[in-house]
């Protein structure tokens, strides 16, 4: 990927503080221009920010940017416009997403021909392609455009501040966006104790799931006995729905590096590790490039910025097991051992990597650190709720219209997230519940959707904040099936060390399977609760301790749905195939035989060109006919 800095032919010298200041002065207007972009601004020179987040890249953002660059060249527009490849802009559903600066116009789903037109018409002639612009219908029926769209307007970006704004490969752009100012402050203006104090007062809590106060953790590691300490960034991101950590590493890798360097200084460590899963090649590539660049510029390595402080960071690649995100398993994995959790205490802060005190934080936690130190604890603590400060990034998925990454202040209600940012339910069915925290989390029913979202309130509802995966469900979703789905994930991902998790979760899954197959028994619900409770309380690590959460929380909020499965052998949401009755609507059947051929049980009979019939005694409820029928004559209820 070509970077701005390469385009600008930057020197590759070691930077000192004066050089950083020089870069800030020179490049800051560009960054500010991007942030302030809005319709009506007077363009001297335009920039097209092309989202190169993992999701946009996978829907061909790279050729789109290539086309734009080529056309800019062909049309001799190079001195009036340029392409900037930036990190994730959040609205992944609409990728490849493009933003033209300073006009502030977003174009969703840009393909190569649209790319050409954007260059020719918008960049070249200055005409906005109205019909291609991102629009949204406002509450009063009015048309909202680009940045007015609630998906963007309702966000408050701190951790994601640079994602989608700067070129992740450009140290200069990062520096211009206030990068490394926090590190400078820590190295030259603040005592480590003052940094800890700032962090504690900010109220920042770990974003990896458990929400442990970050400042306190830093303090523990600093106070732990030992001469060697380590700093670790957890970028394993195992929750299947979540991708905020990936987006930060892809879109703003320097912020994590800077934050880890700050921590190194504060706790007295000279070595950091970023543990990234192998499934994130783009994140690994960009982080690796950023590390090289930081080293080259003297922002990593010996005597950083002449402060006498040495620090370096290495990438460790994980094989992508969910459990390797658990901190003790992660450290075993870095040490080259089997990624298997061990009991805590001793906590990593006391005995971590190679038995040395280790500070381990999540990517998003890290990304919050520099702004807090720059803008102050009070600024940060003013955002959010009493005990959950700042913002949280959510990976919005499921039944909403806009899926993607959003960063919102703590305390926002689930309803706002679903209806305003998410744009409501896509299918038009009623909003039923949202699963927060992925396989370790639980569901929040629509009835509780107005509760302000923070660590405590979610916990009370039997869900968790988790890493920020948020799956929205409409009435077409079966909660038993949902629980079964997550339990299947847990069973696959259990490391196998302790019996409650290894065997207990499998038993839970077996029970759920029999319920969704229509073989549930009256006592099954109690069994799920008893066993779930046992697994939760006596498993070794967080995986087992939270594994039954999806089951227990759906049981708590949707017990009746389970009961209907068991007692009436019926799936109210119509999702459990084995519980559906399949019939053929006579008016629609054209007698084509497709269903007969598809049925593995031989339950369908009928002459060619005559109405077919399903023998309910033979039907095995597999639903094959449903998919096979070309006229939609099969009804499942």
């Amino acid at each position: 990927m070509k970077t701005n800095s390469e385009a600008a032919g930057d020197s590759r010298a070691v930077l000192d503080r004066a050089a950083l200041a020089g870069i800030r002065e020179a490049v800051r207007p560009v960054i500010e221009g991007r942030l302030a972009a809005r319709r009506g601004a007077e363009p001297v020179r335009r920039e097209v920010l092309v989202c190169h987040g993992g999701s946009c890249v996978s829907c061909h953002a790279v050729p789109v940017a290539d086309v734009m660059e080529r056309v800019i060249g062909e049309r001799g527009l190079a001195d009036r416009a340029r392409v900037v490849r930036v990190g994730c802009m959040g609205l992944c559903d609409a990728g490849p997403l493009v933003l033209v600066v300073p006009d502030g116009v977003y174009y969703p789903r840009v393909n190569e021909s649209l790319a050409r037109r954007i260059v020719e018409e918008h960049l070249g002639a200055g005409t906005v392609l109205d019909e291609a612009e991102l629009t949204w219908e406002g509450p009063g029926g009015e048309v909202l455009r680009s940045r007015e769209v609630p998906f963007f307007a309702r966000q408050l970006k701190i951790a994601l501040r640079n994602c989608g704004v700067i070129d992740p490969g450009s140290l200069e752009e990062y520096v211009a966006a206030d990068g490394y100012r926090a590190l400078e402050k820590v190295l030259f203006e603040m005592e480590p104790g003052a940094v800890l104090d700032e962090l504690k007062r900010s109220g920042l809590r770990g974003r990896g799931g458990a929400g442990f106060p970050a400042g306190l953790k830093w303090q523990f590691v600093r106070d732990a006995r030992g001469d060697v300490r380590y700093v670790v960034c957890n970028a394993d991101e195992g929750d299947p729905g979540a991708f905020m950590d990936r987006s930060i590493l892809e879109g703003d890798p320097f912020s994590v590096i800077e934050a880890m360097t700050i921590a190194g200084r504060v706790i007295g460590s000279n070595q950091g590790y970023v543990y990234v899963r192998a499934e994130y090649p783009l994140a690994i590539e960009r982080l690796g490039a950023a590390l090289d660049r930081a080293r080259q510029a003297g922002l990593l390595g010996c005597d950083i910025l002449g402060s006498g402080f040495d620090f370096d960071v290495e990438i460790r690649i994980g094989a992508g097991a969910f459990v390797c995100g658990e901190e003790t398993a992660l450290m075993h994995s870095i040490e080259g051992k089997r990624g298997m959790p061990r009991p805590r205490p001793p906590f990593p802060a006391q005995k971590g990597l190679w038995n040395r005190p280790t500070l381990l934080n999540n990517v998003e936690t890290w990304a919050n650190v520099p702004p807090i130190l720059l803008r102050g604890a009070e600024w940060y603590a003013a955002i959010g709720t009493a005990r959950s400060k700042g913002t949280k990034v959510f990976a919005l998925a499921g039944a909403v219209r806009n899926t993607g990454l959003v960063e919102v202040p703590m305390g926002i209600s689930l309803r706002e997230v679903v209806e305003e940012l998410g744009g409501g339910i896509r299918s038009g069915l009623p909003f039923k519940a949202a699963q927060s925290g992925g396989p370790s989390g639980g569901c929040v029913p629509a009835s509780a959707a107005d509760v302000p979202v923070d660590y405590e309130s979610l916990q009370e509802l039997g869900a968790i904040m988790g890493s920020g995966g948020l799956i929205v469900m409409d009435e077409g979703t079966c909660m038993v099936e949902l629980a079964r789905f997550f339990m299947e994930f847990i069973v696959d991902e259990s490391c196998g060390k302790c019996p409650p998790c290894r065997i207990g979760n499998r038993v839970m899954l077996n029970v759920l399977e029999r319920i969704t197959r229509g073989e549930g028994r009256e006592e099954d619900l109690d069994l799920l609760e008893r066993l779930g409770d046992h697994i939760r309380t006596s498993s070794l690590c967080g995986l087992g301790q939270t594994g039954p959460n999806p089951v227990l929380s759906t049981l708590r909020h949707f017990r009746q749905e389970y009961e209907v499965h068991v007692r009436e052998r019926r799936c109210p949401a119509g999702q459990c195939r084995a519980l559906l009755t399949y019939t053929i609507v006579e008016e629609l059947c054209n007698g084509c035989h497709a269903c007969t051929k598809a049925c593995p049980a031989g339950a369908i009979a009928g002459e060619l060109k005559h109405v077919h019939r399903i023998d309910q005694d033979v039907c095995i409820h597999c639903g094959a006919c449903l998919n096979a029928c070309p006229t939609g004559a099969i009804e499942a209820r």
């Binding site: 089997r338 061990r342 009991p343 302790c498 409650p500 038993v507 066993l531 046992h534 070794l540």
Partner: protein, 803 residues
């Protein structure tokens, strides 16, 4: 570690406990029953089985595993709440789901921890839907059968093999219900067969084939005794049925081995039932050995003795150091009673010279000054001459544990190793026999650092003698890079307490006495808290030395015999013709002695040449006392009776004394004398100048490594089918790179040539052999290795020729 005592509340009662200590220990100390499956005191906390959970009521943690929760001030713990009981029951119920239950026919029934806990705690009655996956048993090893369908994944075997045995032959693979214990790539076990894993397995997932038995646990009688193979003296527990051993284990917490054994102590007991055992005395009639009654045989032996006395010739005895103290005392008295000048000695046993002429002049006594506990706790340990993993497995375990579990390093300086070098920091791959030079260098270097105690008597002379031993010189002699030498010196200099460990064993090159002397001097100069542990090869060498039985050297006895002066030669467990090094003309000496009495368990080469052969009890068939290398008394119990008609040495000696008219002291007196031999004794300590001789490096070629193997050391072990079955076959083992360079494949015939001697062997490629070394295991005198080895202790270089 000293720990602050804090107050915690257990089941409503306030108790004091060490902060940071293991909650489990505190609870068990209070007499509370806390079930565990994955916990083992010898291992780092694991917290896997979740059986030991207790309820924490001080708002921190809820259910916590007692085995891996440290004691904290103000903790409130309940161990018997309904929730705790339910958690135990639920866990047991889950474990049983994934366990092939065939208790009535399982080897471990009655001795299975899972069975016991289910019996004690019960499980919920409700049936749970679960289908156990079928997994084949691993029958590929001749010793250990692994049954994954019974494995409860407690991980003990894996952790012991890694943390204690240092082998890491097995590991966990797979996730969730697929998790399993397996070897690398699932290949057949190819390990030390120490049995640590089998003995620790709480269920029947690991079974030792040799101990496959139909005898249920509750019909077996359990008895403990001291293992009498090597000098470590581990305590073992044998399970017997109708007087026969059906299984051998060791109990965690046992002294000195804490539940560890090696392959010999675990499996080697089939020697006792070897069909080759002598069960009746033999006497020579018309040139042939024929079976006789004890009366006849003892009579013949006594008559031989009387004749020697009449003809004015000498009586002499050479005994094995495995002799128990009481028997050795009686033997000495017998000989003294027969003839004031009778020669008494033990064989040319490894460790004898190290103690008698190596350390005795320095320490004032032929004994070690460091114990195994010292080695365990020292800041730094330097192991010299060999890999204890081959000769002294328990010492290996102690070394591995201190580094793997507590991060305490040890250094290993040896020419031939068997895997311990992987754990050593630093490892010094010495040219054979250059330990003395290394020690001389260390003496000089540490003194220059100001680390040594210069007030010890003789310091000046000693210091003078090592003056020329600079790093550069030492690097030239030992072949170890100067940087590594410096690293070792630095580590020793920084350590407050240093233990030196000197390994002895047949086939280890170099002069053991000289190395022992140099090590003793250095250990003294290192001052208070440092010491030297000399490891003799066979059990009870130290005990035999203290009985005064080793008055004469084996070489002198030989010489007297060769000169025709010996009229009655009594060989107790010694086999000069079969097991001694070629440099000692044992067979010739036998021929020169007028009358030879051999007391042994097998018809050795020597016994074949004897006039009278007396069948003796060996190893754990004996009752008595021994002394370990560090000076502690160990009580040996007869846990199996010797074959009918076979007697213990002391009994035979008493019979001989009776016939010879010698009065021996009664059992009480012998017992009192034995007890008086225990303990370390101080002598005047003084340093002496070292003689650092530099051996000529041999010419080009491979180094021959004929040192003992863990499976098998060459004499008694030859009669254990289990051990010989495991020991590498007679072959020359070589590193893959060397084999490739020589164009050799497994099984190719090669000629090993040295100094005019030559043997033909098959090649075996073995990744554990170090490049440049050829390993030819010593089995007995007729073997290949011994044919190449001219003289004990000499460094041999061999040429490899394709055949």
């Amino acid at each position: 570690m000293d720990r602050r005592m804090v107050t915690i509340t257990v089941n409503g009662r306030e108790v004091t406990a060490p902060a940071g200590g293991r909650l489990l220990d505190v609870l068990r100390g209070l007499g509370l029953d806390i079930p565990t499956l994955c916990h083992d005191d010898r291992l780092t906390p694991y917290g896997g089985c979740r059986l030991c959970v207790v309820e924490r009521k001080d708002g921190r943690g809820g259910m916590v595993p007692a085995c891996s929760t440290p004691v904290q001030r103000g903790m409130v713990v309940e161990t018997r709440t309904p929730a705790v009981v339910a958690a135990r029951q639920n866990n047991l119920q889950l474990l049983l789901l994934d366990h092939r239950m065939e208790c009535p026919v399982c080897e471990r029934s009655g001795d299975c921890r899972l069975q016991e806990l289910v019996y004690l705690y019960g499980t919920p009655e409700e049936r749970l839907p679960f289908e156990r996956a079928e997994r084949p048993r691993d029958e590929s090893s001749p010793v250990i059968v692994r049954d994954p369908e019974k494995c409860i994944l407690c991980g003990k075997c894996v952790r012991l093999c890694d943390e204690v045995q240092g082998v890491a032959e097995i590991g966990l693979v797979g996730r969730g219900l697929d998790a399993a214990v397996t070897t690398l790539l699932g290949r057949p076990l190819d390990c030390e067969f120490c049995g640590q894993c089998v003995n620790a397995c709480p269920v029947g997932a690991l079974i030792a084939r040799p101990f496959a038995t139909e005898v249920p646990a509750w019909l077996r009688e359990r008895r403990t005794t001291v293992c009498s193979w090597c000098s470590c003296g581990c305590e073992l527990e044998a399970e017997l049925y109708e007087g026969r051993i059906v299984r051998v284990t060791a109990r965690p917490g046992s002294e000195p081995n804490d539940g560890m054994l090696c392959v010999k102590g675990w499996l080697g007991w089939d020697v006792l039932e070897s069909p080759e055992r002598l069960t009746r005395p033999l006497v020579r009639r018309e040139g042939r050995l024929v079976e006789a009654s004890w009366e006849e045989a003892l009579g013949a032996a006594a008559a031989g003795l009387a004749r020697a006395m009449e003809t004015g010739r000498e009586a002499a005895v050479l005994a094995t150091p495995r002799l128990l103290i009481e028997d050795a005392l009686l033997l000495r008295r017998l000989m003294e009673g027969v003839q004031g000048t009778a020669r008494t000695g033990i064989g040319p046993e490894a460790g004898l010279e190290a103690l008698a002429s190596g350390v005795a002049p320095v320490f004032g006594q032929p004994a070690s000054t460091a114990t195994l506990e010292d080695v365990d706790a020292a800041d730094m340990v330097l192991v010299l001459r060999g890999d204890p993993g081959r000769t002294h497995p328990l010492v290996k375990n102690v070394l591995v544990r201190r580094t793997r579990q507590r991060g305490l390093p040890f250094a290993l300086a040896a020419a031939f190793t068997a895997g311990l070098e992987r754990h050593a920091a630093p490892f010094l791959h010495l040219r054979p026999g250059t330990e003395t030079a290394l020690l001389a260098f260390l003496g000089r270097a540490l003194d220059l650092e100001g680390r040594l105690d210069r007030t010890v008597e003789g310091f000046g002379a000693w210091r003078e003698s090592v003056e020329r031993c600079t790093a550069e010189w030492a690097a030239g002699v030992t072949g170890v890079p100067e940087a590594t030498l410096a690293r070792l010196a630095e580590a020793l200099s920084a350590a407050r307490k240093v233990s030196l460990v000197l390994v002895t064993g047949r086939g280890i090159p170099g002069n053991e006495a000289a190395a022992a002397r140099a090590a003793a001097c250095l250990s003294v100069a290192l001052g208070e808290g440092s010491g030297l542990l000399v490891l003799p090869e066979k059990s009870n060498l130290v005990g035999c030395l203290r009985t005064g039985l080793a008055r004469d050297r084996a070489a002198d006895v030989l010489e007297a015999a060769l000169a025709g002066r010996v009229g009655w030669l009594y060989l107790v467990g010694q086999d000069p013709a079969g097991a001694w090094p070629r440099s000692m003309p044992g067979r010739e000496a036998l021929e020169s002695a007028e009358f030879v009495v051999v007391q042994d368990a097998f018809l050795t080469e020597t016994a074949r040449a004897a006039d009278v052969v007396l069948p003796a009890a060996i190893l754990i068939e004996r009752e008595g006392t021994g002394i370990g290398p560090e000076g502690t008394l160990r009580t040996y119990h007869r846990i199996v009776a010797p074959p009918a008609g076979v007697l213990q040495d002391g009994v035979i000696v008493r019979e001989l004394a009776r016939l010879a008219g010698v009065r021996l002291p009664g059992p009480e007196i012998v017992a009192a004398e034995t007890a008086a031999l225990a303990g370390a004794r101080g002598g005047p300590v003084r340093l002496a100048a070292l003689e650092v001789t530099v051996a000529e490096p041999p010419g080009e070629g491979f180094l021959l490594d004929p040192s003992p193997q863990v499976f098998h050391s060459g004499s008694t072990t030859t009669h254990s089918a289990r051990l010989t079955g495991l020991s590498p076959g007679i072959a020359v083992r070589m590193a893959p790179a060397d084999a490739e360079a020589a164009g050799l494949g497994n099984g190719d015939a090669v000629r090993l040539v040295t100094d005019g001697r030559e043997v033909l062997l098959r090649a075996r490629i073995d990744r554990r052999v170090r490049p440049g070394t050829l390993l030819v295991p010593w089995r007995n005198r007729e073997d290949a290795a011994s044919r190449l080895v001219g003289e004990d202790g000499v460094w041999i270089s061999v040429q490899l020729r394709r055949s």
